[in-house]
């Protein structure tokens, strides 16, 4: 049985982990690794860099375990660590941003270059849909990645991003509206 299912709070898990309880640290990884990945993916847009940055965040986190105030929530702490490690992995550069029109153009070009006699594979569609990420703001990308990888509850996403649930609502609606425009040409392919 996991520590979570025994009803331990996050603060208990942190204090157990800081005392060297391997089960507690494993529980932290289990519960928050996809949150960390979501934040890193939103920042880097690259699978390998995102995984490396998420792993870095947990290594950095292990060093700080004893310094976390008892009542502090864990999700914003891990998200913040990950933003820092992702920035470090990106070498201080920002991922290139695109306008909605430019992203739409890229998708159209990719479709034109594809072999029209073959239906587009799911992998190719996934690859192209990630191109559209470039047209979203950091917050829009982060909210969307957290929604798909961490939690479908706006208040939990808001806690990780240290903002209000209404901001998450705005970010998701805005991101989805842009993606609908950009990815429109992919439907039916």
């Amino acid at each position: 049985m996991s520590l979570i299912s025994k009803g331990l709070k996050d603060s208990d898990i942190i204090s157990q982990a800081s005392l060297g309880n391997k089960g507690a640290y494993r529980e932290l990884l289990r519960k928050y690794s996809n949150l960390s990945l979501a934040v890193a993916l939103a920042r880097s847009g690259n699978r390998d860099k995102a995984r490396a940055a998420a792993a870095d965040a947990f290594v950095e986190g292990a060093k700080e375990l004893g310094q976390i105030p008892e009542s502090a929530p864990i999700s914003p702490w891990i998200a913040s660590l990950t933003r820092a490690t992702a920035a470090k992995r990106m070498g201080g550069t920002r991922r290139p941003s695109l306008t909605t029109e430019a992203a739409e153009e890229k998708i159209k070009n990719a479709i034109e270059e594809a072999d029209e006699s073959e239906p587009m594979t799911a992998e190719k569609k996934s690859e192209l849909s990630l191109l559209a990420f470039g047209a979203l703001s950091d917050d829009e990308r982060e909210a969307l990645c957290l929604l798909h990888l961490y939690s479908n509850k706006y208040d939990e996403i808001a806690a990780a991003m240290t903002t209000e649930a209404s901001r998450i609502d705005e970010n998701l609606a805005s991101a989805r509206n842009k993606l609908a425009i950009i990815l429109g040409p992919l439907f039916g392919k």
Partner: protein, 286 residues
Amino acid sequence: MTIECEECLRIISRQIDRATSDKETQAARTHAIKCETCRAKFNAIAGADRLIGKAIHSFRLTDGFSAKVAEKLAEAHLAESVKGPPKAMALVALGLAAIAILLAIMLAMRSGPDIPSIGEISRFEGGEIEFSQYGTQSFSAASTGMEIPEGARLQTRLGSGIVRLEGDRNFAMNSETLVDLSKYHDGAKILLESGEIYVFVPETDMQVDTPGGKIYGSKAKFIVRYENSGKTVVAVKSGEVNLFSESGAVLLEKEKKAEMREGEKPGAPEKANLDNYLGWIRRLGL
């Protein structure tokens, strides 16, 4: 309650996450009846969300990630040792290294080589599934694409969802299903150990075994429930389904049900009231 296009689009976004009130949903519907742009946007937004959700979900982490963290923790400890940390820090580092080594050993025992996939979780209503290989994984309502490794045993802990297996075979699990897929490559069989599943194979066939017998459906949609008392209940929504036990067999047609128990011949077909079985399945949109 009347709304403008901007608010309608926000409600559409919330609808995808099932975060709307009945009032909001009704307001968006009323608006969309009059507004062609918003009607078109609804389909475009839902379609784009499915595409991006699948792409993001393919990044989901598995145990390999924990092993990587364990390895990095061990490296970090070695680096600190070379620098000669103060005594208190050395103790902390020693603790972390111990965690790392234990994690690495545990994960090495658990992970092994890459396991081929036999299908994926194609939709989930939000909740948790325990995989025999990966442990408990949480799913959001929008998440799809988690691969199912060969030999998996899945137990739904919360929520309900749809599993798509190779060969165009599908089944839905509810919040109390335990299913063993280790025999999936052996004649497309799955073993229902407890709870209920809804099999839908409109173009193919599939066999579901329970401790009480075997159920084979071809081009059919049917429900199988295995109860702890040892009773298996099968109800057919469409197509034809055969029930076999060691003592006999029965053919079930559309809208019929039958029960069977280990060592006994399957019971005679009876008229099935499918409304008794299909509540959670309808919520999945099936």
